[in-house]
């Protein structure tokens, strides 16, 4: 399916270590950004995004910190389940529920292929659960370009997974910027109507922060360039799915 099988990632104990490190890095980052995220949320929401996420990811990182037994799939699931019970609000089901549900894509471990599957499953679940489409001023606006860029970078452009994820993170940043000038159609912000225009979406922003931390941790374990932008070097004649079928 993939042209470059040499891009297999790391062995299972290393995957487990990386997942624990990622949970820790995300928890620390969200603690640091707590006030900023809450400030964004107080403009167009209920002013709890920063504290809810920081509390939830701290609990999730603690839940896996000393877990040497669980497989990568089980670790990721545990992070999701902990978020569901500790985050609260809509973010509990959206972040935690989607991580929990998408964790099954890591049944055979974390590879380039399963990471793409995870990203797609996560996005699908967020859209389904939140009933949100692109352009509604939600985290979907950061996730969609990120997931598309990641998938294409791996399946069509055959970039190393680390570089593909760096491009995806750059794409998420552009998605975050896109949420600023558009009117909210979902969540508490939609009650504000036109008053939501001009404000950056907190969920899209925290999604991008989380990706930045995942990228930092991935950089410790994988080879590849990370100083990249979201542009793609190719214009494919087929969609990635068709490429997949032909291979």
């Amino acid at each position: 399916m993939f042209g470059r099988l040499s891009y297999n990632m790391v062995d299972e104990p290393t995957q487990q270590e990386a997942i624990r490190a990622a949970a820790e890095a995300v928890a620390d980052r969200l603690e640091d950004e707590k006030e900023y995220l809450t400030e964004l949320d107080s403009a167009i929401g209920d002013a709890d995004h920063g504290s809810n996420l920081a509390r939830g990811f701290r609990a999730a990182a603690d839940a896996v910190a000393d877990d040497e037994e669980s497989t990568p799939e089980e670790l990721v699931k545990k992070i999701g389940v902990t978020l569901i019970s500790k985050v609260g609000g809509a973010s509990g089901p959206l972040y935690g529920g989607s991580i929990m549900s998408a964790s099954q894509t890591f049944e055979e471990g974390v590879t380039a292929e399963s990471s793409v599957a995870f990203a797609e499953a996560y996005l699908d679940k967020v859209k389904d659960r939140g009933d949100a489409q692109l352009g509604a001023k939600t985290m979907v606006d950061a996730l969609t370009p990120a997931v598309h860029t990641f998938k294409k970078s791996i399946e069509v452009d055959e970039l190393p997974p680390l570089t593909a994820f760096a491009k995806a993170t750059a794409a998420a940043e552009r998605g975050v910027e896109y949420t600023v000038p558009i009117r909210a159609q979902k969540g508490r912000a939609s009650y504000l109507g036109w008053r939501s225009v001009g404000h950056q979406d907190p969920g899209a922003t925290s999604t991008w922060f989380i990706m930045q931390e995942l990228l930092e941790v991935a950089d410790d374990y994988l080879e590849g360039e990370t100083d990249v932008d979201a542009r793609s070097p190719t214009i494919p004649e087929e969609t990635p799915d068709e490429v997949e079928e032909e291979a």
Binding site: D46, I84, S85, G88, G89, A90, G92, P93, R129
Partner: protein
């Protein structure tokens, strides 16, 4: 008997709606699942899951919800429970009253309680 769960962002609202519905619904199992579990405003999937388990005697549960995350957390709780539970697409207060009345009907099913709850969607307050 079909059980009912009332999910609101406010613990007080969930309890109050159950109180009102109990007046109409006699002995139908009614469980409030309001607030974030820490005294604040919000909804919590595990509280909703516990309430579903408490309201279920094996025949099923109908869940009434208020806004946004109440729906998402109720969906998540239902995915994680063994009980036959369904969310009513109905206004939370009027829907809960209708559902409680129907639940006391001996022949009530999850479907019939759901249908009665959802009839409340068209209720007018004036005219």
């Amino acid at each position: 008997m079909i059980g009912l769960v009332v999910v609101s962002h406010s613990h007080k609202a969930a309890e109050g709606i159950c109180e009102l519905a109990a007046q109409m619904g006699g002995d139908a199992p009614l469980e409030p699942a309001g607030g974030d579990g820490e005294g604040g405003i919000g909804t919590d999937a595990s509280r909703i899951g516990d309430a579903i388990a408490a309201a279920d005697d094996g025949e099923g549960v109908v869940v009434l919800v208020d806004l946004g995350s109440a729906v998402m957390n109720a969906e998540l709780a239902i995915e994680m429970t063994e009980a036959n539970a369904t969310i009513a697409d109905a206004p939370i207060l009027e829907g809960a009253l209708n559902a409680a009345v129907e639940a006391t009907n001996e022949k009530a099913t999850v479907e019939s309680v759901l249908e009665k709850a959802e009839e409340a969607r068209t209720y007018r307050k004036t005219s």
